[in-house]
């Protein structure tokens, strides 16, 4: 069993390495190098050459890549090209909290509610409750994030009259009520976005278990439906459900990009979008790696969860 886990982790690391190569090459295709951008058009050949040597831009590409990778692993991300002499680490440390708060709270609020709703839907399949949830999630799964966000704004701001359509500014000097209204819209929207997938997939995972002969046996014994689901089906559905949760948390990593821009929220995602607009490729490299690595790790957890929970996968022949 440990061998399988180690292989999976190894595969995850290799994938991250592959992703880092793609990101490095992709951002290197940008016209102009760091020395050119930093010194501007008026730079002399000599000063360009000196700076290139200092930054290691005269080295062969593969050496540049390893240099970048090792610096990245040590947390030395370099200096932003667009915003003067600010280091990337500084830019990130100003904002990572905001993104972390939104995604963590989304996970803490959205996941239990959606999983609960999904299990309920599987418990009473075919009822109006189930159909309503299924139709709702089919709709929300396919809708773009900014559609969901607009609905949320209309509902919360115009209908309930709380919160502010656009959340700007820092979170430092705010009291609790202000903090809640500050975060309510992005978090509620992200929760809805992941809930759609999560409900659907949880329902399918539980129903899948409900299909097996031992459940039939339990039903034939005359056990009440609630107990069949809770004691018999759910335990075997935990693996698939954890798998589903991890996949959807990985989805938060990408969903947060559109949501942050929509609400003008100062997080890492708005930072990378700014980086693309200003063609600050050092910023893109760093943040791209952070986002992709998080994504790969969550996907790996999803993979491990489904293996660990399934004895047949745990002990392959």
């Amino acid at each position: 069993m440990y061998r399988i886990i180690l292989t999976k982790i190894g595969a995850g690391l290799l994938t991250t390495l592959g992703v880092s190569i793609v990101i490095f090459l992709g951002t290197n295709a940008l016209p102009g190098d760091a020395a050119q951008i930093r010194l501007g058009q008026a730079a002399t050949e000599d000063s360009l050459k000196a700076l290139r040597e200092e930054l290691g831009l005269n080295l062969p590409l593969y050496q540049q890549y390893f240099r970048w990778l090792f610096n990245f692993l040590q947390g030395e991300f370099g200096t932003s090209l667009a915003s003067g002499n600010v280091t990337i680490a500084q830019l990130i440390s100003d904002r990572y909290e905001n993104t972390l708060i939104v995604s963590t709270l989304t996970a803490m609020i959205g996941v239990p509610i959606s999983v609960g709703l999904g299990i309920m839907a599987a418990m009473f399949p075919g009822t109006i409750y189930d159909r309503f949830l299924t139709l709702g999630s089919v709709t929300l799964v396919a809708a773009p994030e900014f559609f969901t966000a607009t609905l949320m704004v209309l509902f919360v701001v115009f209908f309930l009259g709380i919160g502010n359509a656009v959340v700007v500014g820092s979170i430092d000097d705010k009291n609790l009520v202000e903090l809640i209204t500050h975060f309510i819209l992005p978090i509620a929207t992200l929760c809805l976005v992941i809930a759609a997938q999560l409900i659907r997939m949880t329902r399918a995972a539980v129903l899948n278990v409900m299909n097996s002969p031992y459940i039939e046996m339990a039903i034939l014994k005359g056990i009440p439906r609630r107990r069949v689901v809770m004691r018999h089906a759910l335990l075997n559905a935990i693996g698939p459900i954890v798998n589903v949760i991890a996949i959807n948390l990985a989805y938060v990593v990408t969903g947060v990009i559109v949501i942050e821009v929509y609400f003008g929220y100062a997080g890492l995602a708005t930072l990378i979008v700014q980086g693309v607009q200003t063609r600050d490729y050092i910023l893109i490299q760093t943040l791209g790696m952070i986002f992709c690595a998080t994504y790969v790790i969550l996907m790996m957890i999803a993979d491990l969860a489904s293996i660990l929970s399934n004895p047949r996968l745990r002990h392959p022949k």
Partner: protein, 309 residues
């Protein structure tokens, strides 16, 4: 055979079986004639409507996409009124006309993108399931790495590198979504390749062309068609998200995603929220309608093969 058994079993799981069709959870072979459900029919109507607008919208639109319906009136985000039935946007332009112009662009780019993804993905996927061994391994590893990059992140890096234009958007969407198509068609190919009728065809001495078009394709068609719909949805969402981030279709061209971005201010200053709601509803109605059709097709194809992968 296992299906017959299950049908018999269903009899005993009375508390559940009268309410759930368990067939939807299995890979049952296509059964009977394909029929659309009510929601599926609704989906077809909506998709047909948008396709019509996409093709003819720019000829039917009351104004050009950057015309001002009321040149003398400088207030932005006006409420709907005669002459501008959905109101005006941040630059006083007619929203209805821009939606009609944007339809062709949003749908056209996405359709072209998903077609490219399919040409690359299916060719390499089915090809690699037949070729086997080394080529297969290399391709699979390569596409696995691409799959590990979130689509929007991939889009951001490409746009940063080469800038954004409509051809770039189409090719990027094609490239980003081909790994998923590759994985699905490879798995389908593998699954079908080991079936008895393919063995029989091989033993008969049929060539690759026969095996691909007469043996594999008819069996892979249904899952691929329903996946095509799903992929189309994701490409629409991808393209409009990029446009929404300001990195897709560039102003002053109308596109549903960029319309939402341009008019974000309507939430704070606008008299009406239609400028932002209308393009968002346009996208959502199209993608949801496609999803309703896909649900029907995949239920008919009997299995959630694409869901399992």
């Amino acid at each position: 055979m296992s299906n017959n058994k299950n049908n018999e079993d269903k009899h005993y799981v009375a508390p559940f079986s009268n309410e759930v069709s368990f067939d939807e959870l299995q890979d049952a072979p296509p059964s009977g004639k394909f029929r659309l459900s009510i929601t599926g029919k609704l989906g077809v109507i909506v998709v047909a409507f948008w396709l019509f607008i996409a093709i003819f919208g720019q000829f039917l639109a009351p104004y050009e996409e950057n015309d001002l319906p009321f040149p003398d009136d400088y207030s932005e985000f006006q409420k709907p009124r005669p002459g501008a039935w959905l109101g005006t946007d941040v630059d006083d332009r007619d929203i209805l006309s821009r939606i009609m112009y944007g339809a062709g662009r949003t749908i056209g780019i996405s359709l072209a993108g998903v077609l490219i993804a399919y040409v690359i993905g299916v060719t390499l996927g089915i090809g690699s399931s037949i070729a086997g061994s080394r080529i297969d391994q290399v391709l699979t590893q390569f596409f696995n790495i691409l799959l590990a990059i979130p689509t929007i992140m991939f889009g951001l890096v490409v746009v940063a590198a080469v800038g954004s234009s409509i051809p770039v958007l189409i090719i990027t969407a094609g490239a980003i979504f081909s790994p998923v198509v590759f994985r699905l068609s490879r798995a389908l190919g593998m699954e079908i390749m080991v079936m008895d009728f393919v063995e029989a065809a091989k033993v008969r001495g049929e060539g690759y062309r026969w095996i691909i078009f007469k043996e594999i394709w008819p069996n892979a068609a249904m899952p691929l068609i329903s996946d095509f719909g799903l992929r189309f949805i994701y490409v629409i969402l991808f393209v409009s998200s990029l446009s929404f981030l300001g990195l897709g279709v560039q102003p002053p061209l109308a596109d549903w995603g960029s319309m939402v971005r341009e008019n974000l201010g309507a939430l704070q200053y606008g008299e009406s929220v239609i400028p932002i709601l209308a393009p968002a509803i346009a996208i959502a109605s199209l993608t949801v309608a496609i999803n309703l059709i896909v649900d029907d097709v995949s239920a008919h194809a009997g299995g959630k093969l694409s869901g399992r992968l």
